[in-house]
């Protein structure tokens, strides 16, 4: 699965893109976020405030409860500030 990070999430994680094998037991976006946040300090810092995390699966907004286990591409990012 391809993972993407944007804005300050990208900066805290330390990379904009990586490929992972989804570990067993990770089904929802929230599961994935919790798993990622335990990887190292950078990830922990990136995901420290779950209220500020938005997620997209295959380039569409999904909720934290959505099943992302079948997605090719999952992206995490802060609330959007375009326009």
């Amino acid at each position: 699965m391809k993972l993407l990070y944007f804005a300050w999430l990208r900066e805290r994680v330390g990379t904009g893109e990586e490929t992972i094998d989804l570990p067993g037991g990770v089904t929802t976006a929230k599961d994935l976020m919790l798993w990622l946040s335990q990887r190292d300090e950078g990830y922990a810092y990136a995901f420290e405030d779950p209220q500020l995390i938005r997620v997209a699966a295959n380039q569409q907004h999904v909720s934290m409860e959505a099943d992302i286990s079948g997605a090719d591409e999952v992206a995490f990012f802060p609330p959007m500030t375009g326009g």
Binding site: L4, F6, A7, W8, A56, Q59, Q60, H61, A75, F77, P78, P79, M80, T81, G82, G83
Partner: protein, 159 residues
């Protein structure tokens, strides 16, 4: 009015409002109202060197397309253009353009207003401010008023 193909663009280049209006209007007599929203890089007190616009390539275009489709389902538009710039943008420069065309002005106004509200809260773009002081750049925080603005349309749906 699903026969309208909206023009969607995400680009580092500046856009030309007059050319976009001309593109939408050319050779047509079925447009009574054109509403154009231009979002500019603002710097009231000289403290900003530039904005840096990051986006999610692919999803940004897809999300603008989804917003355009929603607007076309909701209002009888005869033309629609959405352009969002990315990269480094200086004070006074263009950031975003939304143009809505319709036979009547209410549809054109409402659709442009709707598109900007959802573009702000749904389209994957992020702004970083580079201060004129040379200090560390800062990510812009999302405003709760933007969510409130977007929520106005849900309230209308529920009526």
């Amino acid at each position: 009015m699903s026969s309208i193909t909206p023009k969607i663009s995400v680009s580092a280049s500046n856009f030309d409002v007059a050319a976009e209006l001309e593109h939408l209007k050319a050779g047509r007599t079925d447009i009574g109202a054109l509403v154009t929203f231009t979002g500019l890089c603002r710097d009231e007190n000289g403290s900003l060197a530039a904005l840096e616009l990051e986006h999610y390539p692919g999803m940004a275009e897809a999300e603008l397309q989804r917003l355009a489709t929603s607007a076309l389902e909701r209002w009888p538009l005869t033309g629609l253009t959405i352009i969002h710039r990315v990269g480094r943008i200086r004070p006074g420069e263009n950031i975003v353009l939304v143009v809505t065309a319709s036979a009547h002005r209410r549809a054109a106004f409402e659709a442009a207003d709707f598109l900007m509200d959802f573009l702000k809260t749904q389209a994957p773009f992020w702004k970083k401010e580079h201060p004129a002081s040379g200090n560390e750049p800062q990510w812009v925080e999302a405003k709760s008023t933007d969510d409130t603005d977007a929520a106005r349309w849900m309230a209308k749906d529920a009526r």
